[in-house]
Symmetry: C2
Subunit: 370 residues, 2 copies
Amino acid sequence: MQISFSRGAPSLDIVDIDGLREAADRAFRSDPGRMAAYGTAVGYPPLRAWIAEQHGVSPDRVLVTNGSMQADAFLFDALVRPGDAVIVERPTYDRTLRALRARGADVRMVELQHDGIDVAALERVLIAGTSPRLAHIIPNFQNPAGFTLSAEKREQLLVLARAYGFTIFEDDPYRALRFEGEPLPTLLSLDGRDVAYASSFSKTVCPGIRVGYLVGPEDLILQIAKLATGTYISPSMVSQAIVFEFCRSGALERSIETVKTALRERVQTLCDALRDLLPDARFTPPQGGYFLWVDLPRDTDMAALREAAARRGVQFVRGEDFVLEGAESSLRLAYSGVTPAEIEEGVRRLAEAYTEVGTVGAQAAGAPAG
Amino acid sequence: MQISFSRGAPSLDIVDIDGLREAADRAFRSDPGRMAAYGTAVGYPPLRAWIAEQHGVSPDRVLVTNGSMQADAFLFDALVRPGDAVIVERPTYDRTLRALRARGADVRMVELQHDGIDVAALERVLIAGTSPRLAHIIPNFQNPAGFTLSAEKREQLLVLARAYGFTIFEDDPYRALRFEGEPLPTLLSLDGRDVAYASSFSKTVCPGIRVGYLVGPEDLILQIAKLATGTYISPSMVSQAIVFEFCRSGALERSIETVKTALRERVQTLCDALRDLLPDARFTPPQGGYFLWVDLPRDTDMAALREAAARRGVQFVRGEDFVLEGAESSLRLAYSGVTPAEIEEGVRRLAEAYTEVGTVGAQAAGAPAG
């Protein structure tokens, strides 16, 4: 049996398929006209209004897209020109890194600490003369690290954004999946002017429906709506109407509870198994989301570990995929798509692979550590 | 009552909403796993295979997108660099014009005749030294003109593409909507190497589902799949699974019959009404599709006509929106979204507006024609 810790996606057992089917049925019965027709690029109006209400903003500030990656792409197309400096966390989501580099951005990584981006280090970068267009921040249960930006740092970041005139891109798909501790205010709710906020229904409804959204200043949303019109006229009205019915019927809240309960159990199992079977692993248990970041001893041969794990049917993503350089002895374990039983078995095999690689390393111990 | 001849979209009465609802129900029951999960950028595998079979190609040559405009956008991003010459028909779809100009293409319009693009004129352009990257062709019931590319010209175009080394972008959303005459082979079926083919389910299922596709050489599809992955990971699996169920259940064929019957009646009503009430209008009745192109006498003040029609609640699109220059006395009438009764009333009001504007023109008759 293959056990994948690599994909940040839910297992099918925590997706409410019946709820989706019923939502689709109701949507086609209640609003066939708007569902069947071309919509406009801002998205299905009732869902747009529902999202606006959740964030306490006017619907004019919301654009609903085919998944939040598409929202990111539009935002970058609107704001980032080749050579523009863009701040990202280190480590950060690999697809964001690639999207920014594909647009010729001058990507500047600032270290991510257990309570979020190192704001003091960011300030030093700014004082040294970097004038970023955008700072990309994943505030809750960060991908890949699982860390959460503290309340204090949220305020500090906004002060810096105002002082140095950059936009904060608050990339927040995991917010609803907090299974421990108290929720923190979004940067958007603290300051609507300097923040572009993106989130998604991939983690709370399902990924295959591809519905995400952007909230930003009205003029930015207008500009992006033009880009979106020119790209696809309108996003899937059918997907968005189904999501709207799912949300307004109460299925969303139930789905979030199901997902959180499962994630809490999975992360607990994962952390326990690592402590038991792979005591060299260092990690901070996340309070929500999909990911656990694991540091192994500095001289771990990660390529060999990945290969040895793959031979045992276990996949993970290497830490270095989430940085421009470094993180050679780290890895990301996604626990969203694996059951507790799979997690235990997966960690057992991973520990076995680690022991094997460790033995190889010991054999080659003549060479100095890099 | 507003009567719009401007939007190329079906009226709700010719969309099979019950069929869609039932397709959604079956899809969620039969393949929840693939519908709920992230797919890959090439699209929902069963639909991809179904489309491949329709075109007699390998599934590796198909990429299913969120509407065919998105397919166009990816194709242009993959192939067109600023300054590249791109051939388009004159007139052509306004959104294509805008998408090409937004990418800095050097757009060269070649006259569209009643049997398709003027191939002799295209050859003269090529002989004169233009080396186009792409030629954009809408072969069936062209938008906006309603004309269809003849069998002979299809062959001639392919000869030119091979000789001068450009790709033909066969943009074919209306193919299934032929309500008169015999279907002609796609350029794709005549030569799979020099053709990128796009089509859509917007006209046969509904626009709001946003499912379109691209068929091309395998290496091009691979390249575009990478672009698509970086843009949105995967298109809506939910939309595509619903379309697949709609297709395989036979609902698609029934829907196409409904649409064709309605369009045949609508275009007949439109042509009859124009002959009766607006005898100055010159036009060629189309054999399928959504659009009728109308030429009015050369000195018609089109801005005034549009304004006078709007005052009477009637909308149309001016011919000049579909060209780089010229077409000042032409207009496009879309008959897909209006019932026969609306068409008759709409033409009556349009004729009234024309009479009013003609009177104004006669009053200002001292000025020479432009």
